[in-house]
């Protein structure tokens, strides 16, 4: 009678139905008690399936139970009376799906008489690790970590709440899942100069839990957009340098703050980034010590430091889109010139030049963006290359 059928066999199924005639079902047939209970993991459940007396021949005889489609062993059930079959479940596991375990009472012929959804789980644990940031002081986005237990068996609802410290009214965040499953975005109406109190409430059928309160001032958690218009270009013919230029993020230009920047760069095929730290309030930088004839990817990010006179750092922006540029190829020495390494190819330097090189090398390492030393170094390098070609060993006058 109950042929196996998939979605494609619906038509045959329909014809069967019409032959049989529609069955009456519902409160007239049977009822399971309790209906849709909520239980703690490990607890027990006593359930009953009561057949209504109206239907001729209605008896609890031959009834059986299934839980999530699996027939339960007969020793767990017993007939309480002629029309009621009881079930005893012990030590319940967490629900198989968040929509509830399906406990079904079947007639002898397998037809479904009644059903009840069991919700078995744990109350939620305290969410923790709330972190928030404000983009250009216009909004606030917060993220948190859920407590570990009870989250998977029952559906847990998270609610991010916030209020101004001395103003008493609780507000609820409404835009969830903006940056991942446990996040919320407050798009507007944020006040400055007064701290906010922020917390997360986790609720499920078995109870609720509240995180610790995070107090923060919007001005302390400001981030901004990555610097736009990042350009990377060669420095004349210098084969180991690239010049990076960018624009300060426009969104914060009306606010009093000092931007800090960070630059990172890597060789095309590598995954290791080199970071240039501590680039303060300038919009260009020269990278040196690079490999000639190599493609580099460069990114810049910004930190709105000291907004409105605060002494604190803000939050780093995202990195700008990678910009690529390549260093010029190294010039090969003339025929019979020896090794092809551009530096190694230099004729053996006198001690003064060696010292100078070391000095400038040190300067370069410790002050990437110091323009003064670079000007000097540039001149020296350019001169070195020229003199290398003509094999001239004389030092420039300026030195």
């Amino acid at each position: 009678m109950y042929k196996s059928w998939g979605w494609s066999n619906v038509r045959e199924r329909k014809e069967e139905d019409e032959e049989r005639g529609e069955k009456e079902w519902g409160e007239d047939t049977a009822v399971i008690s309790p209906q849709d209970p909520t239980l703690l993991i490990g607890s027990s459940l006593q359930a009953t399936c009561s057949v209504h007396g109206d239907t001729p021949g209605a008896t609890a005889e031959g009834l059986y139970w299934t839980l999530n489609g699996r027939r339960l062993p007969p020793e767990l059930s017993r007939m309480l009376n002629a029309s009621t079959m009881a079930l005893a479940l012990a030590n319940l596991n967490g629900s198989r799906q968040q929509s509830g375990d399906n406990l079904v009472c079947h007639a002898r012929d397998g037809s479904i008489l009644a059903g009840s959804c069991l919700y078995v789980g744990l109350p939620p644990e305290k969410p923790f690790n709330i972190s928030c940031w404000s983009r250009n002081m216009k909004d606030l986005t917060c993220r948190w970590t859920p407590g570990t237990h009870g989250e998977t068996f029952l559906h847990t609802n998270y609610s991010l709440k916030y209020k101004l410290r001395w103003y008493g009214q609780d507000n609820t965040c409404e835009e969830y899942h903006t940056v991942g499953p446990h996040s919320c975005h407050i798009p507007k109406d944020l006040a400055l100069f007064t701290p906010y109190e922020i917390w997360v409430e986790a609720t499920n059928r078995l109870g609720s839990a509240r995180s610790d309160v995070l107090t923060l001032d919007i001005l302390d958690v400001v981030t901004t957009d990555p610097p736009p218009d990042v350009h990377v270009s060669r420095v004349g013919g210098l084969e180991d340098q690239l010049s990076v230029r960018w624009v300060s993020p426009p969104a914060l230009k009306d606010f009093l703050f000092q931007a800090k920047y960070q630059i990172r760069y890597r060789v095309e095929d590598s995954v290791d980034w080199k970071v240039v730290d501590d680039v303060s309030n300038q919009t260009s930088c020269r990278l040196a010590g690079l490999k000639p004839g190599t493609v580099y990817f460069v990114q810049v990010r910004c930190n709105p430091f000291g907004i409105y006179g605060s002494k604190k750092a803000g939050i780093w922006s995202e990195w700008s889109h990678p910009t690529a540029a390549s260093t010029p190829r190294s010039e090969r020495p003339g025929p019979g010139g020896g090794a092809c390494e551009p530096r190694g190819g230099e004729p053996s330097s006198g001690p003064v030049r060696r010292e100078l090189k070391q000095f400038l090398g040190w300067l370069k390492k410790h002050a990437y963006c110091s323009n003064l030393s670079f000007r000097l170094y540039d001149q020296w390098r350019a001169w070195m290359q020229k003199s290398h070609k003509t094999r001239n060993q004389v030092l420039p006058d300026k030195l």
Binding site: Y2, K3, S4, W5, G6, W7, V10, R11, K14, D17, E18, E22, K23, W25, G26, T29, I32, Q35, D36, T66, N68, G69, R70, R96, Q97, Q98, S99, G100, D101, N102, V104, S111, I112, A114, G115, S116, C117, H155, H177, P181
Partner: protein, 225 residues
Amino acid sequence: MDLRAGDSWGMLACLCTVLWQLPAVPALNRTGDPGPGPSIQKTYDLTRYLEHQLRSLAGTYLNYLGPPFNEPDFNPPRLGVETLPKATVNLEVWRSLNDKLRLTQNYEAYSHLLCYLRGLNRQAATAELRRSLAHFCTSLQGLLGSIAGVMAALGYPLPQPLPGTEPTWAPGPAHSDFLQKMDDFWLLKELQTWLWRSAKDFNRLKKKMQPPATAVTLHLEARGF
């Protein structure tokens, strides 16, 4: 559709004859308005696409409801689903539907089904499932628009919902979660059946709307080919 051998021969013979006869036939108006043909084709294509989309959505949703709902031989009683528009219809009745009625039934069915789908407010469903449902509703809305387009092209009025008869499949307060799951199950099933049927409906309409050359073919057929 299975063509019997006789039909194939007949059609082939007719086609050849038509090609011969064409110069003698008064010039057919091939340029200008293509008629409702393309939009019927589009509607047909949409039903196939939705059928495919539903298979995936239903699979996920039924897994969310949990066994036995997602088992292939699941056969629950049909409780309280009388308000669902039924796709099942007697074959002769279906065949004899006139175009207007055929289109109207489709339009009304999907209006109701869309409404119920939107109300499928499973609080506990995952965000991903809610997104899939929303996406499907949008596609279904597209199908409704497409059917409306065909009806307009053929000059049929769109069925207007009578005030007060808005489909409300709102369960009573005593409606248990398990019964709700059954309602969801039957909604998806009926939707599947309707899409299956609509493909046949629009295929039939498509054939009826063939360009006038067909009329010539049929006329020749009558001469004993």
